[in-house]
């Protein structure tokens, strides 16, 4: 019972069910024990499963997800887990060793409780030639899926499928959780008005096949183009749609795809390889000739490096967390995306040049 209360309190702190119908459950069955690699996956599991799950993540919110500092409890927790959520691409390089050590075959790769976030997600940056000397080229494609809220809905679906496999008797609870999560993403992404007019699913389909803007610009409602009704994150992102920026690491492919901002170059010489003097010089040259004055960086990188480049190039740095809990006030996935979008909108109010 104490456990149940703890789960509910955690859920409340992280904004579980905020503004969305809470799946009501009088369920006193044992919660499903879930371990995730990243805190952001844990948050999604919590949003879907509510008090029906007991979830924790291995990586800390501001840890580089490629590497974690190994602690004994990781293996202990995975041993007890009924479900394990990982990206499934080559992001969390430590997962195979950890699963090996924990020796829990039901959550090992191929087991009932093994859930990969990337399943069914339309991946970007799939390399044509694979060679690690080009940096940490992710051989299957860019693994930072959750920077696009619509792709994150697919991640949530994968998690729901996993929960149904582990606890099919509570399928209706998991389905209700997924439904409210999806509705909340739609509402926050497009704004209330468009949702009422067109429905979230249609809008999400249009956004996924890249025709949302052309559709909204040509279709009219009450004499003015629909685009004027675009609210939510995409509405805020209108302020920086089509803008070019510098990014620190290749985390943002899916954010670029969704919000129409473009990383024209990276502070890292190659993904995962720290900036070299020659590359920084080229970058500064490029920044001044193209009027690039914003650098977007995830908070797990060394901020002094980013800031020194920014200072020399006269640019503003937007440092954002990659996970809930990575910054005060960023407690869940929704406030995380809020932080990204508002952070970019805050500094990208002027046009390039």
């Amino acid at each position: 019972m104490r456990l149940l209360i703890a789960v509910m309190v955690t859920g409340w702190i992280t904004g579980y069910g905020e503004g969305a119908p809470t799946p009501v459950s009088q369920d006193l069955r044992e919660p499903v024990r879930v371990v995730t690699t990243l805190p952001v996956y844990a948050d999604i599991v919590r949003k879907i499963g509510g008090s029906g799950v007991e979830v924790s993540s291995i990586a800390a919110p501001n840890e580089d997800s490629h590497f974690v500092r190994p602690k004994p409890s990781f293996a202990v927790r995975i041993r007890r887990a009924e479900m394990f959520v990982t990206t499934g691409l080559d992001l969390e390089l430590w997962v195979p060793t950890l699963l090996d050590r924990a020796g829990n075959s039901s959550v090992a790769e191929g087991g009932r409780g093994y859930v990969t976030a990337y399943t069914g997600v339309d991946l970007l940056d799939i390399p044509t030639a694979v060679d690690r000397s080009g940096g940490d080229v992710h051989v299957f494609g860019n693994p930072h899926l959750i920077t696009d809220p619509i792709r994150t809905i697919q991640v949530a679906r994968n998690i729901t499928v996993g929960l149904k496999r582990i606890a099919p008797d509570r399928s209706s609870l998991w389905d209700a959780g997924l439904e409210s999560f999806t509705a909340e993403i739609h509402r926050r992404l497009f704004g209330e008005t468009l949702i009422e007019l067109l429905g979230g699913d249609l809008l999400a389909d249009l956004a996924l096949n890249g025709t949302l803007h052309s559709f909204l610009e040509t279709e009219e409602w009450q004499g003015s183009p629909l685009i004027q009704e675009l609210g939510g994150w995409l509405g805020v992102a209108e302020a920086f749609r089509g803008r070019d920026i510098i990014c620190y690491h290749k985390n943002w492919a899916y954010l670029e795809d969704r919000f129409g901002v473009r990383c024209v170059d990276y502070v890292e010489a190659k993904p995962g390889i720290p900036p070299t003097p020659g590359h920084v010089a080229d970058l500064l040259q490029e920044m001044s000739s193209q009027g690039l004055d914003v650098i977007l960086a995830a908070s797990y990188f060394d901020q002094r490096k980013v800031e020194s480049v920014a200072r020399r190039g006269g640019a503003t740095v937007v440092v954002v967390p990659m996970n809930p809990g990575g910054k005060e006030g960023v407690d869940d996935y929704f406030s995380l995306v809020d932080y990204w979008v508002n952070g970019l909108a805050g500094v990208l109010s002027r046009p390039n040049g």
Binding site: H66, F67, P70, D131, R132, I273
Partner: protein, 273 residues
């Protein structure tokens, strides 16, 4: 939980068995930092391997680290310099620093190189697997037999330093086998842990005795206590195993110094078998 602790403890014991022995030699010879130098040379080997496209943890990668270690052994066995005030420890220190810098430099060309460098320091003893332990134990057992058969040679070499010229071959064999030992243990336990397992039990032992065999038994006992206590504490407190073990070994030394002060044991400075 208990079976999760068994693998790190077993790996630690295998490492300890041979490192404590080598540690006595290293201290008797006064080449304390030769282990750090070897560890860095081995790391340099794997890093060079990584740069030319050999992935970590493959036999080929091990080959790179062994190849580099062999070169290091050659260098060290010929760096017992005659007619100079330059101590061998200076050459060893220089090797360590240059190899470390080269690792950082080369790691800069590969993805996540900085983390690779950090990992070579603290290691990942808690993720060790039984096949890894088996391989390491096999190699160490072979070398253990070798050390036992030729123990008189090695002891003579470490305890009396007067026949340097005739000793080049045995010196070389000592460094080669030492390098092989280090290549295996560093890959599993990291530079800091390996250095602790090598030097601290041996130092504690020599605080109480100047006889080689007694020192060896004492070193094994001290090391085992520190290892088991360290792994248990790591699991109870849920902190990283590698760094905590190094601190546990350090704590053992402090305790030993108090015991020595309290008991007034003074073994003298002349080493004997």
């Amino acid at each position: 939980m208990l079976d999760l602790m068994l693998a790190p403890i077993a790996a630690g014991l295998v490492i300890l068995a041979i490192h404590s022995y080598l540690g006595l030699h290293v201290i008797a010879r006064g080449v304390i930092f030769v282990d750090l130098a070897f560890a860095q040379i081995a790391a340099l080997g794997t890093t060079v391997g990584l740069m030319v496209g050999v992935e970590h943890g493959t036999p080929m990668s091990m080959g790179f680290s062994l190849g580099f270690t062999l070169l290091g052994a050659l260098a060290f066995s010929f760096s017992r310099l005659d007619d100079t005030v330059v101590p061998q420890e200076a050459i060893i220190g220089i090797t360590y620093v240059v190899a470390s810098a080269a690792v950082v430099l080369i790691a800069g060309f590969t993805a996540e190189g900085a983390e690779h460098v950090a990992e070579t320091m603290t290691g990942t003893l808690i993720w060790v697997t039984w096949p890894q332990i088996g391989r390491m134990a096999l190699v160490y057992a072979t070398l253990g037999v070798f050390y036992f058969v030729f123990r008189r040679r090695f002891e003579a070499l470490s305890l009396h330093d007067d026949s340097v010229h005739k000793a080049r071959l045995w010196d070389f064999l000592f460094y080669v086998t030492f390098g092989i030992v280090i290549s295996f243990s560093v890959a599993i336990a990291g530079v800091l842990m390996v250095f602790s397992a090598l030097v601290i039990p041996a130092v504690v032992a020599f605080l109480f005795t100047s006889r080689f065999l007694r020192a060896l038994l004492l070193a094994w006992a001290v090391g085992t206590v520190a290892l088991v206590a360290g792994v248990l504490a790591s699991f109870t407190l849920d902190v990283a195993t590698g760094p905590l073990l190094v601190c546990t070994f350090g704590l053992m030394l402090v305790v030993a110094l108090f015991v020595r002060w309290g008991t007034g044991i003074r073994p003298g400075s002349k080493l004997s078998v």
